[in-house]
Structure formats: C-alpha cells, structure tokens
C-alpha cells in the first residue's frame, strides 16, 4: 500500500472503533437519571462518559487522517446510518437492566482482550488511545462481571431476565470476531488487531462467569451481521435522530 492509502485505511479503522464507542456510549447515557438506584445510575453514566471520551479520541484521529475539513463533530453528527460502521450489538436498544449489563459484560470481556492487543499497534496514536482505554475497561469489567453473578444468583426474576438477555444477544456476538480484507491488511502491517484470534480466550472467560452465575450463553445458531459495512438494524436510525438532533436542526450550532 502507498503511504496515503495506508493513512486512509487507518482512518476507516479508527472510524470503526470510534463508531463502536460512540453508539454504545449513547445507549449507556440513556440510563442517566433512569438507573435502578443512585450508585448504579452514577456508575452507568460514568461508563457512558468513558465511552464518549473514547469515541472522541478515535474520531478525532480518524478526522485528522481523513482531512478535507473533517472533525470529530462532523463525523459524529453529520453522517447518516449507512456511513456508520459500528457493530450491531452496540446499537440494540438498552432493554431492561439485565440486558444492558449482559451486553456490557460481553463487550467488556471483548474490549479487555482487544485493547490489550491494540496497545501493541505500530500506529502510536491507536496504541495511545488503547492504553488509556484499557485502564478504564478494567474498571468496567470488574463491575459488569459482578453484576452477572448477582443477577444470575439473585431472584428467579433477575435470573430469568439475565438468561433472556443472553438468548437475545448470542447471535450478535459472531460479528465481533469476523475480519474483513481491510482489517486483515492492517493486521499484516502490525496496525490492526486480529479479532478472530480473540474468540477462544473471550469464550472461555465468559463461559466461566456464566457457569458461576448459573446461566448459559446459548451457542450462536443464528448470526446477524453487517455493521462494519453500514448495514444496520432499524434501531440505529432512531438513535441517530436523537444523538444528532441539535446539529441537524441548527447546523453548526455552538455553545
């Protein structure tokens, strides 16, 4: 690859990681003032804040490489559904508390493995963002893992809801570990992470927790995917309508 092409490819990669963080951060922020109790409300919004900050770091880097006057804000607020490249799991509606925490736990285990690899990236900007994010994720994981045990071993109701969440989420996990040509190319030059190589460690970590919590992640007998190439569920449009409302209604508005 030529140097300019490499930059543009890394920009797409950074955009993917930024979109993941932005969309999940937005979903988590929906819990603000709606948490089941005060400490949990604060925890959920703290995690949301970390993700939005992570999104800013990735999108800012993507915008720098992209040039043409792009900024983190133009990438977040002025693209439409088909331009977003986040995984589908991140955009699913927040559901009940068990669903939000089950998704978070599955993703925290994934992020912990992913970031530990990304911080070895030959791209020093990506490695820098990963180093910062990895520390935050270790906190997120400790809490979400504890919640799996509490919900799984809690009441019949909490157990039922957690199991239901896992039944709904299982088919969305496949996408986390599927690579495409773009990421494979970047992997070869030591920039991107080979996500397919993370699956075994991820699966054994989550299986261990779920065994302890007395629930099961059903084998993925179905799989929905397409986020990385802009094919989304119907939920993303609604999410963006809210996230982008002010900039769409008052373009360029500042305060």
């Amino acid at each position: 690859m030529k140097e300019r092409d490499i930059d543009q490819t890394i920009s797409v990669y950074a955009l993917r990681l930024g979109d993941d963080a932005l969309i999940l951060g937005h979903r988590l922020s929906e819990w603000c003032s709606n948490g089941p109790f005060l400490e949990e409300d604060i925890a959920l919004t703290n995690v949301a804040l970390d993700y939005v900050g992570r999104a800013r770091n990735f999108l800012n880097y993507a915008a720098q490489l992209r040039g043409n006057g792009s900024t983190e804000d133009s990438l977040a607020y002025q693209r439409d559904c088909r331009d977003f490249t986040n995984f589908l799991m991140h955009e699913l509606p927040r559901g009940d508390f068990a669903f939000t925490l089950a998704r978070q736990y599955l993703l925290d285990e994934y992020e912990a493995l992913f970031l530990a690899e990304l911080l070895k990236s030959k791209d020093s900007d990506l490695a820098g963002i990963a180093a910062k994010s990895a520390k935050e994720t270790s906190y997120h994981l400790r809490r979400s893992r504890e919640w799996m045990l509490r919900l799984g071993g809690g009441t019949d109701e909490s157990h039922r809801r957690l199991q239901l969440a896992l039944d709904e989420l299982t088919g969305y996990t496949t996408e986390l570990f599927e690579m495409d040509d773009l990421e494979r190319d970047l992997c070869e030059i030591g920039v991107a992470v080979d996500r397919s190589a993370l699956f075994d460690r991820w699966f054994s970590a989550v299986s261990k927790t779920f065994a302890e919590a007395n629930v099961t992640l059903p084998p993925a007998s179905w799989a929905v995917k397409g986020g990385r190439i802009g094919f989304h569920t119907e939920h993303l449009g609604h999410l963006l309508a809210e996230l982008q409302y002010v900039q769409r209604a008052y373009p360029g508005c500042r305060w």
């Binding site: 925890a43 970390d50 770091n57 910062k132």
Partner: protein, 173 residues
C-alpha cells in the same frame, strides 16, 4: 530479588517530567501554571495531578503539553481554557495547549504533596492495587466500597466502618 526489597523509584515518565521542570529555562511559566487547578478538585494543581507534562518555546509560540486523566473527563477542556487564560493574563498571548495520550496518565504520577492535599481535602489518595485504603477523616483502614464509580470519573465511593462517614477515594489507574 523480591520487589519489596527494592528501593521504590519513581515511574520513569514521572522522573522525566520532574526533570523537564527542573531543567527548564522558563521556570517562571511552570510556577505560573501552579495556579491552574483541577476544576473538580480545586486543591490540586495540574502539576500535582501529573497532567502538566511540558512547557516549551517553539519559535515565538509557547507550547504547553498535557496528558488527560480519563478519556471522557470534562475537566480536561476546562483545564485547557484555564491554562490559556492564565498565560494570556501575564502577557503570553501566543500560546497553545496540546494533549498527548501516550504514555497514558497514571495516578503514580501524582506528587506526594498532591496526595497530602487530597487527604486534607477529604479524598483518600489512590493506593497501589486499591488495597490498604484509609479513611481521610479518622485514618481507620476498616473501610468498605459503596460504589466503584463516584461523582467524577477519577473517584469511587467508600464508607468508613469506624467513623461511619462516607468518603471519596481517588481510583488507582
């Protein structure tokens, strides 16, 4: 040799940060920025916190480098503004603040003076691996976590079993 037998040393990045200040040919600017505080913990300066990394003259311009604490910490934007305002007030009109993410900020960079100020302010300073946390009110070590996350990104919420007071703990990262 066991780790416990080694003389504790500063993290390399922190050693280098202190040396940059000590050997700087513009010490007055470093002193000036001691007045810029963390807006959420107003007893800590950006130097105490380990956020202020370097101050350099690049041609006519003054370049201030900082390392943000947490990715989403809104205090970072305020700190940047406060740095520029403090500099402009004293005549450094041509200045710029740059964020540097790598190496990532860690609580190990906080000065011992900063830790003392935190304690006096009622926030328990971070402890290695989050063990041996002390109540900032009565110094008891008989404490329990209430919530891993607190009023800002950098803190968790604890309770002292000896004096029954709740207190903030500055997370170790």
């Amino acid at each position: 040799m066991k780790d416990s037998k080694l003389i504790p040393l500063l993290p390399l990045e922190e050693y280098q940060r202190r040396r940059r200040r000590r050997e700087s040919d513009i010490p007055e600017v470093w002193n000036l920025l001691d007045a810029v505080k963390d807006p959420e913990i107003p007893v800590l300066s950006i130097w105490d916190l380990g956020v202020l990394q370097d101050i350099k003259k690049v041609g006519e311009e003054l370049l201030v480098t900082i390392t943000p604490t947490y990715s989403g910490c809104p205090a970072v934007d305020v700190m940047k503004e406060d740095i520029l305002i403090a500099l402009q007030k004293t005549g450094y009109v041509n200045s710029r603040v740059e964020s540097k993410l790598s190496p990532a900020w860690t609580t190990a960079w906080m000065s011992s003076e900063g830790r003392k100020k935190l304690q006096e302010y009622g926030i328990a300073p971070s402890k290695h691996s989050n063990t041996g946390i002390q109540c900032p009110h009565c110094n008891s070590m008989d404490v329990a976590v209430i919530s891993e996350f607190g009023s800002t990104s950098c803190k968790s919420l604890y309770r002292c079993k000896a004096c029954s007071e709740a207190f903030d703990y500055f997370k170790n990262i």
